[in-house]
């Protein structure tokens, strides 16, 4: 089981999610680009599955996760027309993110879970967020 042929590898990669955009070419190119152990037997490539999976899925994701609404801080300000009160709400915005809402900070941008953010916003401000589309 430690070494698999390219075709077996491809079947394995598409086992749980048939829409994965992989091909035999991808597997071979990825193996060569990342110095993964492989050997050629009778003209057939055999790839070390353990090393391959360590490169493709290093964080060991073991189950599917439900899709999440991801919002960027710039988008939030633009969509909710809060530019004029942004300085007042800036602290609140950061407090909410730090407390309960899963987020990632990258330079000046915040990426956060919009569902959770809406819930927390309603609790603290007691008003729903108005969007441009609903106004």
């Amino acid at each position: 089981m430690e070494y698999l042929s390219l075709l077996d590898m491809l079947l394995l990669l598409k086992k749980d999610n048939p829409e994965n955009p992989f091909s035999k070419y991808f597997v071979l190119a990825f193996v060569k680009a990342n110095n993964i152990d492989y050997k050629i037997v009778d003209g057939q490539y055999l790839v070390n599955i353990k090393q391959f999976m360590e490169k493709v899925n290093p964080k060991h994701i073991d189950r599917p996760y439900a899709p999440v609404k991801i919002m960027v801080s710039h988008g939030f300000i633009e969509n909710h027309n809060i530019t004029h009160i942004y300085k007042l709400d800036q602290l609140l915005f950061k407090t909410i993110l730090n407390q309960n809402v899963p987020f990632i900070k990258l330079k000046s941008l915040y990426f956060f879970n919009y569902y959770k953010f809406q819930e927390e916003w309603k609790k603290l401000r007691n008003i729903p967020i108005k969007t441009k589309n609903t106004e």
Binding site: L12, K14, N17, P21, P64, A66, P67, V72, G75, N100
Partner: protein
């Protein structure tokens, strides 16, 4: 052994925009690229094709992770 969902970079951004529907999330290919470069997402790459692990992306934003 579970194999996560993968999508090409542009398709991944399209899916996120589809989930957000009418609200513009301002999530672009460039920002996804920055997440990859910063090491927040696993960089699975062949030449100029980037493959995004969607389960890993959603896991970052689920409550249990915080």
């Amino acid at each position: 052994m579970y194999i996560p969902r993968f999508k090409k970079l542009k398709d991944a951004v399209k899916e996120i925009k589809r989930i957000n529907k009418r609200i513009n999330s301002y999530f672009s290919s460039l920002q996804m690229y920055h997440l990859l470069r910063a090491g927040i997402l696993t960089n699975v790459r062949i030449k100029n094709d980037y493959y995004i692990n969607m389960d890993e992306l959603y896991k970052l934003f689920t409550e249990e992770e915080k």
